[in-house]
């Protein structure tokens, strides 16, 4: 139990183009009510969206820190244009907050200063994690598609090097990023004249197959899973094995309740079937999946016996 008490719950950066007002309200409720220890902030997906958030950012940081949350700033996953290179360099050379780097351009700017490795950095194995640790990484978020045996081996290696290890346990999986904006494309536009149509889809734009089967979600240049990853049932295996941080990705559902349920699962204060039923209700019709964890197709929900 002692190990589990130390496990931290984190809230990943918002992947979607939520309005400034919605973000402010969201983080106010996170500050007041969500039992998460650490919150990642910043625009990771689209550099065009960043200006909409910048004005509010200091207020949000202050609000979260006042509530006792540690704030980490996340960098862009894709860096190509001048403004993206500049934003990445500006963030990577900051020393006021911890930063999470999601692109090699950020690693280049950061040098050997301490930093966290984000989920887009492809830290798949012990050799890469060792390399990253030697360059100043203090913490690594493992790729969402990593199956448990590899999570296990990567975690051992990272813990031996003194690194924090984080695994996404809730929310849509990032499946791909592109230079092209698929939100704009759906509306007959291009990235440069997108008019921010992505703001209309606070939980991603659903794609369905021609026989009406939901399959993927589009979020600007990002493609996400239709299902929410849910590793509630696998949490004890992760923490027992040394994973230090469990990441919840913000979705357009009651995230305070999601965080409370995951906290209950960690504490063992509620029975697992009960917690799972409540989570199922919160997520409404969205399918829940854990396939990646078991080395199966990511969308699958693999049934397991209830842990004793």
């Amino acid at each position: 139990m002692a190990v589990m008490k130390m496990t931290k719950l984190t809230l990943g950066p918002i992947a979607y183009h939520w309005s400034a007002e919605r973000r402010r309200d969201f983080y106010a409720s996170v500050a007041d009510e969500a039992p998460v220890d650490e919150v990642y902030l910043g625009e990771v997906i689209c550099s065009k969206r960043a200006p909409f958030q910048e004005a509010e950012l200091p207020t949000i940081i202050e609000r979260l820190e006042r509530a006792g949350k540690r704030v980490i700033l996340s960098s862009l996953a894709e860096v190509m244009l001048k403004r993206e290179r500049k934003a990445t360099e500006d963030l990577a050379t900051m020393d006021s907050h911890e930063i999470e780097i999601n692109n090699a351009a950020g690693l280049y700017a950061r040098g050997k200063q301490p930093h966290r490795i984000g989920p887009f950095m492809n830290a798949y194995n012990e050799a890469t994690i060792k390399w990253m640790a030697d360059q100043g990484a203090t913490h690594v978020v493992l790729p969402t598609e990593l199956p448990f045996p590899a999570i296990d081996a990567a975690t051992q290696a990272a813990r031996d090097l003194g690194l924090g290890v984080e695994v996404q346990v809730f929310g849509r999986a990032s499946l791909a990023v592109s230079a092209r904006c698929y939100h704009a494309r759906a509306h007959g536009r291009t990235k440069d004249n997108c008019q921010f149509v992505c703001e209309d889809d606070s939980d991603g734009m659903p794609l369905t197959t021609s026989d009406d089967r939901p399959i993927l979600r589009v979020n600007g240049i990002q493609t996400q899973s239709e299902s929410y990853v849910d590793l509630m049932r696998e949490v004890t295996r992760l923490t027992g094995n040394g994973v230090t941080h469990l990441r919840l990705m913000p979705q357009a559902v009651d995230m305070v309740a999601v965080a409370q349920l995951y906290r209950s699962a960690l504490d063992g204060s509620l029975d697992l079937p009960e917690v799972e039923a409540m989570l199922r209700q919160i997520c409404d019709k969205t399918p829940l999946s854990n396939g990646f964890f078991y080395g199966e197709a990511g969308y699958r929900r693999i049934a397991t016996a209830s842990p004793a």
Binding site: A104, N122, T128, A153, S174, T209, S210
Partner: protein
């Protein structure tokens, strides 16, 4: 003017010999396992085949580049290291890598052999490229297929290594090395297993009205009328419906090939060192025709002659083709 080397695909020893005979400056290939991003059944090389192939290529003045461009999952790193050691023993001319751990191992263990940064590393800015150059001694970067020519020209000025770009073949539009679409539907990973929309999960289903659907792991990726030719179900080339597009549309990209032949002179002028032809999964005759045509065009351009671009354009005649991101930002 750049050297404009022609880098050609070799899915099998026979294709390798064909590409070399047709005028490839270099061929790229991989072993029959997860260490490369074209881990398809019936493709790739045994160690013995690689040894013979290196000898064949070198005798004819061509180089062999070994693709070790996937990401080893934790606990399986040794397979990638052994592949590098084997390649080094047989005298390959360069390794094409993406994973930092693999790059670090090769830089330390085989410092005499060139490292090329795979497109799977998704290095699309001068800073990202310099990170790999300065840390691992990377000599060449294979640029993602997402940059315009003016952008490539700018990058060229800011990096200390050579540039290789794709000019022909599959039009990959996701940032490579960051795509788990196949794993989401099939349980096989592009990054870890070298698999993309695997044939073993493909099914073509004929319906009562004569139409045909192409499926991957039971998901319908596209539908075709009775008289249409059914395409291969690659997830990012599929047809889906969205709230604003209930009729269904190609949400990411149409089934289309990349053909930059018209841009060849401009790319050479922009300082691109090497041109990559995609298609390790292609037949010998395809490799022969494509390599011959590009060989002639590159030689003409380098000699200051007018290249017969029409021949190159004709290579994809009857198929849809695109210049993708290279021509205009509007592709994005």
């Amino acid at each position: 003017m750049s050297l404009a080397e022609l880098i050609c695909p070799a899915g099998t020893p026979a294709a390798l010999r064909t590409a070399v005979d047709a005028g490839a400056d270099a061929v790229y290939c991989g072993f029959q396992d997860a260490t490369n991003a074209r881990n398809f059944p019936g493709l790739n090389f045994t160690p013995a085949e690689l040894a013979e192939s290196v000898a064949y290529a070198h005798a004819k003045g061509a180089k062999v580049l070994l693709a070790l461009n996937t990401y080893p999952p934790a606990g399986k790193v040794d397979l990638w290291r052994q592949a590098a050691d084997t390649g080094a023993r047989f005298g390959v001319d360069a390794f094409i890598v993406a994973d930092m751990g693999v790059a670090d191992y090769i830089a330390r263990t085989h410092p005499g052999i060139r490292l090329h940064l795979s497109v799977q590393a998704a290095a699309s800015s001068p800073e990202a490229i310099r990170y790999y150059c300065e840390n691992f001694g990377v000599k060449r970067v294979v640029l993602p297929r997402i940059l315009t020519i003016p952008e490539i020209r700018e990058i060229r000025k800011e990096i200390p290594c050579e540039i290789e770009t794709f000019i022909f073949g599959n039009h990959g539009l996701m940032v490579e090395g960051r795509c788990s679409l196949t794993n989401y539907l099939t349980g096989q990973s592009t990054n870890m297993d070298g698999v993309c929309s695997p044939a073993s999960d493909v099914e073509y289903v004929r319906h009562d009205d004569g139409s045909m659907s192409s499926q991957l792991a039971g998901f319908t990726i596209d539908c075709f009328g009775p008289d249409e030719k059914a395409g291969y179900p690659t997830i990012c080339k599929g047809r889906y419906a969205a709230p604003h597009r209930p009729e269904g549309y190609y949400a990411f990209e149409e089934p289309i090939s990349l053909n930059l032949s018209r841009l060849l002179p401009e790319l050479i002028e922009a300082g691109v060192h090497a041109f990559k032809i995609e298609g390790r999964q292609r037949s010998k005759s395809y490799v022969r025709n494509v390599v011959k045509a590009f060989r002639a065009a590159v030689d003409d351009i380098r000699a200051g002659r007018e290249a017969n671009i029409a021949d190159l354009v004709a290579l994809t005649e009857g198929q849809k083709q695109t210049q993708g991101a290279f021509e205009t930002k509007k592709w994005r």
